[in-house]
Point group: C2
Chain length 268, copies 2
C-alpha cells in the first residue's frame, strides 16, 4: 500500500487505528479452544468485528512463533484473511546483515503479503536497506519505544543528541517518507514535538495506548502532521476487552470508541 | 547446555567451530531439489558430515522464514535432528517489549529446543531479560557486528565510549557469563583487545570468518580467554564449499580444516 493510499484510507474512515493481533493463546476465550485452530478462529472474529473501524492490523510475530510451525501457518492465514483493504504490519523487529535482511524482506513481502515490517536499527544501513527495496512496502524502524528499557540505550547521549534522535536523522536519509516509518511509543508524548521537528513528513507507528497507559488525545495533538502521519496501535485493550463469548462484540465496541475519538482529531 | 558443558565440549573436540546453517534454498545443490523437503535433506547431510568437527550449529531463521510455515517446520526438524550433542543457536536477532520477548524466549527455548538465541539490544533491559530466565539457556546479544553498517550506530560515540562498548558494559550487568554471550564480528579483530577488557569472562559468538573475510588466526589470538571464550561461526565457506553431489564431503573437508587449525590454538 502506498502512502497516498494509506492517507486516503485514513481520511475516508476517519480513523488511524491499528488493531494489534497479539493473540496469546493462553488469553483467548475458553470456548474457542475447541476449534481446530483456536488463534485463527479468534483472529477472524476480531477482524470481522473491527474491520470497519481501523485502517491497519499489526501481527506480533512472537505470539505465533511461540506455537512453532503451526503458529506460522496461523500467521499466514490471518494476514491473508485481512486482505488488501487494510495496511498490514508484521511486528517482527527484524534486522541482520544485508543478505539476511534480504531474506526477512522476502519472508514478509513476497512469501507473505504484508505491507510493512518493524525493523531494529542497531546493525545499521545494510540491515535496513533490503526492506526499502520492495515497491509499495515499508520498513517501520524502531525510534523511541514505549517500554522502560528505552532509557538504557535509546535515551543515552550519542553524537550531538540522544541515540534515538541519531537513529531518526540517519535512517530518514536511507529511505523516504514513502517507504519508511518510525516506531514511537505513546508513553513518550512529550518527546513528540522534538521528534516531529527531526522527521516532519514521516508516519509513526505508535504503540503504548491502552494497556501500556499512553493517552490518545495527547499523542494525537503532539504527533500529527498534515497527512495525519500516525498509526496508533491498540492491542490488548481491544482484542481482550472481554474474555467471554461476547469478546468480538466488546472488541468492536472498543475499536468503535477509539475510532470515534480519532474522527474528532483527524477531521480538524 | 551450561557453560561448563560447553567448555568441556570445546576441550574434548579441540574445536570452537559453529557451523552456520544459512541454507538458502536457491543455493543448495540442484540434485536435492527433487526431495520432499530439499532444505532438510541438505541440512541433514551437512550435519552428518560436520558433527565431528564442530561444537555448535547456528540456524539463521531468516532463510527458513523466507519459505513460510513450511520453512519453520524445516527449522524445527533441523534443530531436533542436531540433538543435544551440540550447542544450538537460533540466529534470530529478536528483541521486543517484555511480554513479547517472553514469547520469543518460549518459541526458541520451550517450543523448540535451542540452547541460545541472538538478541538485539536497542530496546533495553526488559527486551533482553526474558531470554535470561530459562535455566541452561543463553541470550547472545549483539555487540559489535561484522557488517559495514556497524559504523552507523555501534561505533558512534555514546556515553563515555562507543555505543557497542556501552552495550557490552550495560548488558553484562543484566546477566552473567553463564547465560549471556555477545556477537562480535571477526572483521573487527583489532577491537577484541578492548572488548576483552570490558567483558573478560564472556563467550563471544564470532561471525564473519570465511565469506566475510575475517581471519581465524587473528581473532583466536586476540579474543580467546582461559575458557576459550569464543565460538567462531562459519556458514557459506562450509555449507556451500561445493554445489555438486560432493557438497557434504567438501563441507566435511572444510569443517575439518577449520577444526585442525582451531586445535592448535585451543590446546596452547
Amino acid at each position: 500500500m502506498t502512502r497516498k493510499e494509506l492517507v486516503e484510507l485514513i481520511r475516508q474512515k476517519e480513523s488511524y487505528l491499528c488493531v494489534g493481533l497479539d493473540s496469546d493463546i493462553t488469553k483467548i476465550p475458553v470456548h474457542l479452544r475447541q476449534e481446530p485452530d483456536p488463534v485463527l478462529a479468534f483472529n477472524k472474529a476480531i477482524i470481522d468485528a473491527t474491520r470497519e473501524f481501523c485502517v491497519s492490523y499489526k501481527i506480533n510475530t512472537a505470539f505465533y512463533e511461540a506455537l512453532g510451525a503451526r503458529g506460522w501457518d496461523t500467521l499466514e492465514k490471518t494476514v491473508r484473511y485481512i486482505g488488501q483493504s487494510h495496511f498490514t504490519i508484521a511486528d517482527a523487529k527484524r534486522g541482520d546483515i544485508g543478505n539476511t535482511s534480504d531474506q526477512y524482506a522476502r519472508a514478509f513481502f513476497e512469501t507473505l503479503p504484508f505491507d510493512a515490517v518493524t525493523v531494529a536499527p542497531y546493525m545499521g544501513e545494510d540491515s535496513v536497506k533490503p526492506f526499502l527495496q520492495h515497491a509499495g512496502k515499508w520498513a517501520i524502524v524502531l525510534g523511541l519505544t514505549s517500554n522502560k528499557g528505552a532509557a538504557d540505550f535509546e535515551l543515552k547521549r550519542a553524537g550531538e543528541g540522544l541515540l534515538y534522535e541519531e537513529v531518526l536523522k540517519t535512517v530518514s536519509r536511507w529511505g523516504t517518507p514513502e517507504n519508511t516509518m518510525f516506531v514511537i511509543g505513546a508513553t513518550q508524548a512529550d518527546s513528540f514535538i522534538n521528534i516531529r521537528r527531526l522527521t516532519p513528513d514521516h508516519f509513526y507507528l505508535v504503540p503504548g495506548v491502552g494497556a501500556q497507559g499512553g493517552s490518545l488525545k495527547d499523542i494525537s495533538e503532539k504527533a500529527m502532521n498534515a497527512d495525519c502521519g500516525i498509526l496508533v496501535n491498540v492491542s490488548r485493550a481491544i482484542i481482550f476487552a472481554s474474555s467471554g463469548t461476547d469478546f468480538a462484540e466488546k472488541a468492536r465496541d472498543a475499536a468503535h470508541e477509539y475510532q470515534a475519538e480519532m474522527a474528532a482529531y483527524v477531521s480538524r
